[in-house]
Amino acid sequence: MSAGTLSGPSIPRRLARQTGSLLAVTIRHPFSLLVSLVLLYAAWIVGEGVVSWGIVHATFLAEDRSSCDPAGACWAFIVNRLPQFAFGFYPEQERWRALLVVLAPPSLMLLAVVPEFRGRRVIMVTGFGLYPFLAFMLLAGGLPGLPEVSTEKWGGLTLTMIVGMSAFVLSFPLAIVLALARTSGLPALRLVAAGFIEFWRGLPLVAILFMSVIMLPLFLPPDVEAPRLSLALAGITFYSASYLAEVVRGGLQGIGRGQYEAAGALGFGFWNMQGYVVMPQALRSVVPAIVNTAIALFKDTTYVMVVGLFDLLNIVVAGLSDAHWVGLAAEGYIFVGVIYWTICFGMSRMSARFEQRDKPNRPAENTLGMSR
């Protein structure tokens, strides 16, 4: 940006020139102009309707459906049920635990975009790495001062966070091992990894969830009883690990032979070579793809609905059948949609930022990795 303003014409002038040339192109072709006008008109109609319904005539506070203005949206439904949408059926006096679980990932992610400071990387890696375990312990309780809460009571955004984050964090080490195995020199290892990855990648997540809930209890020893949430989570983790493994493999393919040979010549063992030389480069080069996988995984957490877990989407759908708030499907879906859209779009913007920030640093990072 700054380089452009220094060398080229000023931003307003450039903008004016660009707008002018694009306008000229648009107007030169009459058919194109017609398409433009039709599209603009359609956009105006839709936009005007949405604003009028969603904001101008909307009701934000009401006791039930009948006190809402029928000409607009009835957001009061969302406002009244917000605690349930956020925390599910979690006991009211214990909700601070669920709140912590919901707020931890966004605050960790905020760290990723603030300017560099000492120890940022350590805080982020340990934070994300321990999140599944800490969140599970905090929510399940059973420790002194934390009464026990069974997993059936978990729900709403809390459950969505737990499922999405845990599946992603747990699948990451698995994905790295799978990717290494698939590119290994040992045929048996390669075959097993390829079979595992292709198996989980070839199945629909809906079928995987059914399978984990039906089959995993059969596989476990007879006296072990696992909650439905853990079973579903196991399925999603394998699914996500297989996709991530392919992404990591893509990164590994971009590492030249020279890197391995140089690391070997310097006396690095296998795991040191991977940890200090190969993985830092391979993972960095596929950060955008990793974030895309995370976005896809986050959207896919809604599938837990099919095994009867009450994630954000399912709890809103369940709330739609409340007799006091009949016929508010649009409001409910829009609320869910705004939350998912914000998170997913935010993540994709973040990935674009990473991509841009890492580009000029590339050669410097390489030498850094060598000197360590």
């Binding site: 694009l22 433009s36 040992l186 290892l189 596989f219 476990l220 649009a330």
Partner: protein, 399 residues
């Protein structure tokens, strides 16, 4: 790789002639073999524990096993079938019904998503500013929302916009639209003559297409009189066919229409959601493909006097398609798998009727899960095979 790293270290330490190298290589091979045997042994042990647990668990729950259930009567009706099936059908037939339904959804959504996605993708790179902005807005809006939300939304929209059975829209007396579905008159009682007429229509169209193709190869146009004649002949054949079969027209019963073919609204919702969601991803693939064609191609085409439309059709798109094939294959595989969401809206696809109803009734968890998994693995693998073949063909054309 484990061994390579270790042996590289070895090599740097001592270098004592050819014999030592051979010995080291033999040791390296032995180590590799041992590692692989250990891995396979560990896997076999895990597998054995799983099998043992499963057998114990199945016995404890009193569940039978074996594939004999496929020949047993299922005893339930499926809401939408492409082949004849009723409550007396076997589980094997139910499996087939579900499989065909899954394939139908996937095939329709695939074609529709490709077409819509191409359109949006072209709009993404068009010179028309509103078209570019709106298509970008569409892509960003749609692909950042979960597919399941799209599906529930479309189910709600479609069901609510349709009237009840009593007030069904009548379309020309042969089709009825209500919130229970679209009822169409179905052809029944095919006679030999009507089959012959249908064959005639098909043959005429095939011959017409062949002639047009031959003319195209010679860079000629099919004479208009021939084309019109062919089309008229085919149309006449079709009209005679329609007239010569009996039509089973749906009739309003006490609760629902009877007779004819029923297309469930769930099918429409499913196809709409899959199409609109995947179209956003296809659009991005198309955009990336088109932008991957070097600008020199467009400039050269313009210099040769090709119009913008012809440049797109003859120069840009054919080259872009080659780049688009691998990501499209991924998207198609994703779409096929996503069609399993049918179970959420209650459309009887493979997962819904077989992994759902049939599994609940028979309790043959292992068998049914294995069969369903095999189907999806075959489908996704075949997408890879077909696109691989197409990819190779496209490469050959290049030279």
């Amino acid at each position: 790789m484990l061994t390579t790293a270790a042996s590289l270290k070895d090599e740097s330490r001592r270098t004592d002639g050819a014999g030592a190298v051979a010995r080291r290589q033999a040791r390296r091979r032995r180590a590799a073999l041992l590692q692989q045997l250990l891995l396979l042994g560990a896997l076999a042990a895990v597998g054995a524990v799983i099998v043992r647990n499963t057998v114990v668990n199945l016995q404890a729950r009193g569940l039978a096993s074996g594939f004999d259930f496929l020949w047993q009567e299922a005893g339930f009706n499926v809401g939408f079938t492409l082949i004849a099936a009723d409550a007396t059908s076997t589980y094997g037939r139910i499996f087939l019904v579900g499989l065909l339904n899954s394939l139908l959804v996937a095939a329709v959504a695939m074609v529709a998503a490709t077409m819509l996605g191409f359109l949006i993708g072209l709009a993404r790179v068009s010179q028309n500013i509103p078209a570019r902005l709106l298509s970008k807005g569409y892509v960003e809006l749609v692909r950042n929302l979960p597919l399941l939300l799209h599906l529930l939304l479309w189910q709600g929209v479609i069901l609510r916009s349709l009237p009840t059975v009593k007030q069904a829209h009548e379309l020309g007396g042969v089709a009825f639209l209500s919130n229970r579905g679209l009822y169409l008159a179905a052809p029944v009682g095919w006679s030999t003559a009507s089959l012959v007429f249908l064959g005639g229509a098909g043959a005429t169209l095939c011959i017409g297409l062949l002639l047009a193709r031959r003319a195209h190869r010679r860079q000629e146009l099919l004479p208009p009189a021939h084309a019109v004649g062919m089309i008229l002949l085919a149309a006449a054949f079709i009209v005679i066919t329609v007239a010569s079969v009996d039509w089973d027209v749906p009739v309003l019963g006490s609760f629902d229409y009877r007779g004819g073919v029923k297309i469930m609204p769930e099918l429409a919702a499913l196809v709409a959601a899959l199409t609109l969601y995947n179209a956003a991803f296809v659009a991005e693939i198309v955009r990336a493909g088109i932008q991957s064609v070097s600008p020199g191609q467009r400039q050269a085409a313009t210099a040769l006097g090709l119009s913008a439309r012809l440049t797109m059709r003859l120069i840009i798109v054919p080259q872009a398609v080659r780049v688009m094939v691998p990501p499209m294959a991924n998207q198609y595989a994703h779409l096929i798998k996503a069609s399993a969401l049918a179970t959420v809206v209650g459309f009887p696809d493979l997962v819904n009727v077989f992994m759902g109803t049939a599994l609940n009734q028979t309790g043959r968890a292992v068998e049914i899960v294995v069969m369903t998994a095999a189907v999806y693995l075959t489908l996704t693998a075949s997408v890879g095979l077909v696109t691989g073949w197409y990819d190779r063909r496209m490469k050959l054309v290049e030279r």
